[in-house]
């Protein structure tokens, strides 16, 4: 959602969302030579530069190579105006249809065109409507199908041959959808309804200081929280993670203003807690600190490349699992991660206005460690894919008396097909929303 009325334009270095009908994909537009792959189609992205977001482009076949599983096609993209996109039914001017399917037999003879013919057709015509027109012409049964069945047929064919893509600016909504569809495990299975509720129950907004621990959501959770914190506000987010490098793809894709990005302080859980409890002592006793410094310096240098990757990654190199690597002698200048630890530690001393935990580990110890950093009367939200882990945490928190109004919840999310005379819930639904444990801290 752009706050200015002018629409931002596509720039080099941006993450973009490529949409072809209902399929969406997050892609980095890193250079003019960059290309994107949608199934068998390869798209050259060059012509997107400086075009406004939301524009539609036509895929024009540049060359076609025979591959193992059908032709691989290389396309250039051409800007088109919206009114070139019309309903396929109107374009084809279809009038007659049958009443029911009593005369339709599935004998494989309905389509007179062979698959080779269709492949040729595909290279000859640039427009899906022409291909579909030919398919309809050569279908013996099309006109005896019911109007609804025709619609379904046309939609199916259109999906296959559709030659337009739309380029959109990444938002939390679009990314949550893409990540969950591509590989839900990489965002710990956090479904859209659950994500939306984490944001609500945690109360994250333009005022306050917030605390998040997450062990790998491709940056989706910190990005969603930072998005709710907003530009030009005072709120801050301390983002704790278990690895050497935070996953930041979603954060980078949002292209937030620098001042807003800087209000998300990403720190390693172990090293920031050490800084918080031992502070200056850590600096004085270099040998003990060196064990995690060594791995951290290495990894901070490669941050840029790693976060530039487009496919969701779950990079996780745990520090304290390799305790015997303390030979590294480092320069005395404070490194970026050390400064971030100091900033985070200062905020930890002032305490936070919420706590959000989405852990692959058992949440219990993490919550125990972080709960004292939260002010009283503040929301806590703990996410887990397994109810059992939250049951235990629930009991521990209840027994501690430090948290009240405890609830464990999950959701049903049903989407509906709403069409004249064809309204029903979608045939498939996702049955795994994950679980949330919510409550309020007490003094």
């Amino acid at each position: 959602m752009s706050r200015k009325s002018t629409i931002p334009s596509i720039q080099l270095g941006d993450y973009i969302v490529i949409q072809r009908q209902k399929y969406t994909k997050l892609q980095k537009f890193g250079s003019l030579d960059a290309s994107a792959t949608l199934g068998k189609e390869h798209l050259e992205l060059k012509s997107l530069l400086d075009q406004p977001y939301g524009s539609t482009f036509k895929m024009c076949v540049k060359e076609s190579k025979a591959g193992k599983r059908g032709a691989q096609r290389q396309h250039t993209l051409e800007l088109v105006s919206e009114n070139e996109l019309r309903s396929i039914r109107d374009v084809l001017n279809i009038s007659s249809s049958g009443a029911d399917n009593r005369d339709i037999r599935d004998n494989g003879e309905a389509q007179a065109l062979k698959s080779e013919d269709i492949e040729q057709l595909r290279e000859a015509c640039n427009e899906s409507s022409k291909i579909i027109e030919k398919l309809v012409e050569n279908s013996k049964t099309f006109h005896t199908r019911t109007e609804y069945s025709q619609d379904k047929y046309l939609l199916k064919k259109e999906k296959k041959y559709f030659e337009f893509v739309q380029i959109r600016q990444p938002t939390i909504r679009l990314m949550a959808d893409i990540f969950h569809r591509q590989d839900a495990e990489k965002i710990m299975g956090i479904r859209v309804d659950t994500l939306s509720q984490i944001i609500s129950y945690s109360g994250v907004s333009g005022f306050g200081s917030y605390l998040l621990y997450e062990s790998g959501t491709n940056g989706l959770l910190p990005a969603a929280m930072l998005n709710s914190i907003g530009a030009d506000t005072d709120a801050t987010l301390v983002h704790m993670h278990p690895g050497n490098v935070p996953q930041k793809q979603a954060l980078l894709a949002l292209k937030l203003p620098l001042e807003q990005q800087q209000r998300c302080i990403s720190v390693n859980l172990y090293s920031v807690l050490r800084e918080f409890y031992q502070g200056d002592k850590v600096d004085a006793t270099i040998p003990t600190a060196a064990e995690d410094d060594a791995t951290q310096t290495d990894n901070n240098m490669t941050t840029e490349e790693q976060t530039d990757e487009v496919e969701p990654t779950t990079k996780k190199l745990k520090l304290d699992q390799s305790p015997n690597c303390k030979q590294f002698v480092y320069a005395k200048l404070p490194l970026r991660w050390q400064l971030e630890n100091k900033r985070a530690s200062a905020l930890m001393h002032q305490k936070f206005d919420n706590l959000v935990v989405a852990a692959k580990e058992h949440p219990s110890n993490i919550v125990q460690a972080l709960l004292p950093l939260v002010k009283p009367s503040r929301p806590i939200v703990i996410f887990s894919t397994c109810k059992e882990l939250l049951q235990e945490t629930y009991m521990e928190l209840k027994a501690s008396g430090k948290v009240t109004n405890l609830h464990v919840t999950s959701n049903w999310l049903r989407t509906y097909q709403i069409l004249p005379n064809r309204t029903h819930p979608e045939v498939n639904m996702n049955g795994n929303s994950g679980y949330l444990l919510t409550g309020y801290t007490l003094s």
Binding site: M1, P376, R378, Q391, N411, Y416, S443
Partner: protein, 318 residues
């Protein structure tokens, strides 16, 4: 003022959530005196099942503290939209957190957003919109009921949210969202008996650069009509869904485990010399402890259908 930002201590005039138990919460105003029905100023005493609370005593107390009642205790919490939704005075039916969260997510509301809402109702959703869009955005909220609009306006002011909201008393189905709001909104939300009548007005209110739309309706026919109009006007990404939240009740249960093995042996086998000891050791029945979770008997089975749509950029509105 207790809704504006996180705060640590109760000040006079704050709305405070008096938390007694999961099923018993009250929103009270932290004022030492109130005016009774006879027009007399009296000391503000709040009655609960656990006894009374002299409200004056909570002023200056830290949020999250325990406060003593005459026959028990309670906790005082700072209100937020979630707690407010559970305690607010109902003037209409309201939408609850699971649906609201989805609405905020799908409408992409964040600080700086301009949101148009109709109807205001009891202001449950409005509080969420305001939390999400303040301090740089603005909410325009409409209700055709004059008293409700007035009450909502007062309430937002009292809650410290007045600077971010304009409340209108207006019938938007017939009159639209006023011409001043043409092309200013990032998102429009409708909760109306006939949303289809207001969709053309929503279309006008959305920015030329596009925006998001949502309609909440309990009945599918309303959604159908609404989608019809949306399609005609060039909205895309039209999608309808429902979100239902289930609570899990967590309990430790102790289960007796019964032994049926002894039935396999004839009874007189128990008359062996050492049988007395045997029966004695078996007597304390085996008991196992389990941490269990179950769903409550009664769950919300339907709230409403949420219909979302996108207005793509540069659709001429003339």
């Amino acid at each position: 003022m207790s809704f504006l930002k996180p705060k640590t201590h109760i000040e006079q005039g704050d709305v405070v959530i008096l938390y007694l138990s999961v099923n018993s919460m009250h929103a009270i105003e932290a004022v030492p005196t109130i005016v009774n029905k006879k027009g007399e100023t009296i000391v503000n005493i709040f009655q609960t099942p656990y006894g009374s609370l002299k409200v004056q005593n909570i002023i200056g107390v830290e949020y999250g503290s325990r406060v003593e009642l005459s026959k028990g205790y309670a906790h005082v919490l700072q209100p937020n939209p979630e707690l407010w939704t559970q305690t607010l005075p109902h003037r209409t039916q309201i939408i609850y957190t699971p649906d609201i969260s989805m609405i905020l997510h799908q409408l992409e509301v964040r600080p700086g957003a301009v949101v148009v809402e109709s109807g205001t109702g009891s202001g449950s959703l409005s509080h969420y919109f305001l939390r999400a869009l303040k301090p740089t955005g603005r909410l325009h909220t409409f209700d055709f009921h004059e008293a409700r609009a007035e009450q909502a306006r007062e309430e937002f002011q009292r809650h410290g949210l007045g600077d971010f909201v304009t409340v209108y008393h207006r019938d938007v189905c017939n009159l639209g969202f006023t011409s001043e709001l043409d092309g200013v909104a990032d998102a429009v939300f409708l909760d109306l008996p006939a949303p289809d009548l207001a969709v053309p007005h929503a279309f006008k209110a959305l920015k030329l650069s596009g925006g998001r739309f949502c309609s909440f309706s309990p009945c599918i026919e309303q959604s159908q009509r609404c989608i019809n109009v949306l399609t005609q006007l060039g909205f895309n990404e039209i999608c309808s869904m429902e979100v239902l939240q289930q609570e899990s009740i967590i309990k430790t249960r102790t289960m007796p485990v019964i032994d049926l093995e002894f039935l396999k042996a004839p009874k007189d086998a128990a008359a062996e010399p050492n049988s007395n000891e045997d029966t004695k050791t078996k007597e304390p029945k085996e008991i196992k402890k389990y941490l269990t979770s179950s769903h409550p008997q009664l769950l919300p089975g339907h709230t409403g259908f949420l219909t979302f749509a996108t207005l793509p950029p540069n659709i001429p509105k003339a």
